[in-house]
Subunit: 108 residues, 2 copies
């Protein structure tokens, strides 16, 4: 069961473009160390670190320490509050996503 606060938290976390970009890079690169994310980022290392903390607190990424590197990867279940919420109101955007309800029930 997912609370309203969790949904708000996920939305807030993804609502920042820089943080969203970090999240998408983690998605694409599979598992990546913080250093790798700083490389090619417009912002400083502390900024990236703060974004990673926010993503972790929201349950959107998980980390694995390996020596002095910390590798980040996506935690797909972190998106559950968002998906569940979309599913809950699916009848209202049914014209576009007619089968969402069935889909969500099947995947439980």
């Amino acid at each position: 069961m997912t609370t309203a606060m969790q949904l708000t938290n996920v939305l807030k976390t993804l609502a920042d473009p820089t943080r969203q970009a970090v999240f998408e890079r983690i998605i694409r690169e599979g598992e990546v160390a913080a250093t790798g994310l700083v490389q090619g980022s417009k912002v400083s290392q502390p900024a990236v670190s703060q974004h990673l903390r926010a993503l972790r607190d929201a349950g959107l990424v998980a980390e694995r320490r390996e020596g002095r590197h910390i590798h980040y990867r996506v935690a797909p279940k972190g998106l559950s509050p968002l998906i569940d919420w979309l599913g809950h109101y699916q009848t209202f955007w049914a014209e576009r996503f007619a089968n969402l309800e069935r889909l969500l029930k099947e995947s439980e």
Copy 2:
């Protein structure tokens, strides 16, 4: 085609709990005047009005004037940036939503 800015805008708009509550009330009540939304809201009429403006600017609701009332209703396509984005990265949360890709393709 939906831009990154549109996605960020939708996320930001839904990320505020008060505004999200207004949006959900519009969903549930179908079509409702601003007055109705102020009733039972924790915040003032101007606050509600500002949230309605934000929702409209994000493309999440549409309005219909009737006399001095303005009725708001959900604009389901406003959620497209969000749904499209989830669909684009579906392989990464496929364990939970295995059929999302097929679904999204069918619904086009």
